[in-house]
């Protein structure tokens, strides 16, 4: 199976594990889309923003000595974007509805990020 297909599977599994998730983007750490289930026109933009958020989050946790970065959460009235590192080379952005079960998302994302890191090596 190609790496692309493996990443798409991880995205699909994450979606089906948590109904509150409305979209997933997997991007390289420098903001290029690797896989995702957002509408085509939104992938590139979401990939760049996810990478920016992840990097900024890590810079903040390093500078303010908050320990190793776990997530960067953007919360709007109508939903969330949760951003996590997925190994050294990739980041993952998860869009979720307002009122979503963040604890469950964090749990499912952990295994997703491990798979992504394994695929990308």
């Amino acid at each position: 199976m190609s790496k692309q297909k493996e990443l798409e599977n991880v995205v699909g599994q994450l979606r089906s594990a948590v109904p509150d998730i409305t979209g997933v983007i997997v991007a390289s750490s420098d903001g290029l889309s690797l896989a995702g289930d957002l509408p085509e026109g939104e992938l590139a933009r979401a990939a760049a923003m996810t990478a920016t958020a992840a990097s900024l989050g890590r810079r903040i946790t390093d500078t303010l000595e908050l320990g190793s970065a776990e997530e960067f959460a953007v919360k709007g009235q109508q939903g969330y974007l949760l951003v996590y590192r997925a190994g050294d080379k990739a980041v993952i952005g998860v869009a979720a509805r307002a009122g979503a079960n963040i604890g469950l998302i964090n749990l499912e994302v952990r295994s997703a990020t491990e798979k992504i890191a394994a695929v990308l090596g």
């Binding site: 750490s29 420098d30 290029l32 990939a47 760049a48 920016t52 990097s55 900024l56 810079r59 050294d88």
Partner: protein
């Protein structure tokens, strides 16, 4: 302008030397957001959010904000440029292939953020490099707006900042006589 706090933005295409420029000019340790580049851009890392530095010049506190260069990060340019008093737009003098992209980017930035700006042509220390005059001609900019820069040289970077302050007519930053001859006058 004592006690004044100003925001200077450093932008330009990928690999022009923005992160280096901020590092050269900053008095404080710079806050970077570098990530490993998955594309071939001539170097291993690239800025994905911003560079942040600061310096004090003639009693003025200047905050430096370096932007990412790739157009996919254009959403960040708007945020970073808000409230800026000046823009330093760097282009690599040894990479004329980046000029068309640079021109588009400069047009976008100066249209949406009409602040005094200087184009810095970096890599001036290299042998095969476009001169400031050649770049000024290409971008159709008046000579005082285009300076040759070695982005690793604190003095060169400082000169760019001073030029922007001069455009604001800041007292105490008089143009030295030899530069006054060239500034704002036609070719001679």
């Amino acid at each position: 302008m004592n006690g004044e706090r100003l925001k200077l933005v450093i932008s330009g295409p990928v690999g022009a030397g923005k992160t280096t420029f901020v590092a050269s000019l900053s008095d404080i340790p710079v806050v970077n957001t570098d990530e490993v580049s998955s594309e071939l851009i001539g170097k291993s890392t690239t800025t994905v959010a911003l560079d942040f530095g600061a310096l004090t010049l003639d009693g003025i506190q200047v905050y430096l904000f370096g932007t990412p260069g790739q157009e996919r990060f254009a959403f960040a340019w708007d945020t970073l440029l808000e409230g800026a008093f000046g823009l330093v737009f760097l282009v690599a003098g040894n990479q004329p292939a980046t000029f068309p992209t640079a021109r588009r980017m400069l047009d976008y930035l100066t249209t949406n953020f009409p602040v005094p700006f200087v184009v810095g042509v970096t890599r001036k220390d290299l042998a095969q490099v476009w001169s400031a005059e050649e770049v000024a001609s290409y971008f159709r900019l008046p000579a005082p707006h285009v300076l040759a820069v070695n982005a690793t040289s604190r003095e060169d970077c400082r000169e760019v900042l001073l030029q922007i302050l001069r455009f604001w007519g800041v007292a105490g930053t008089k143009i030295p006589p030899e530069k006054a001859e060239h500034a704002g006058t036609s070719s001679h």
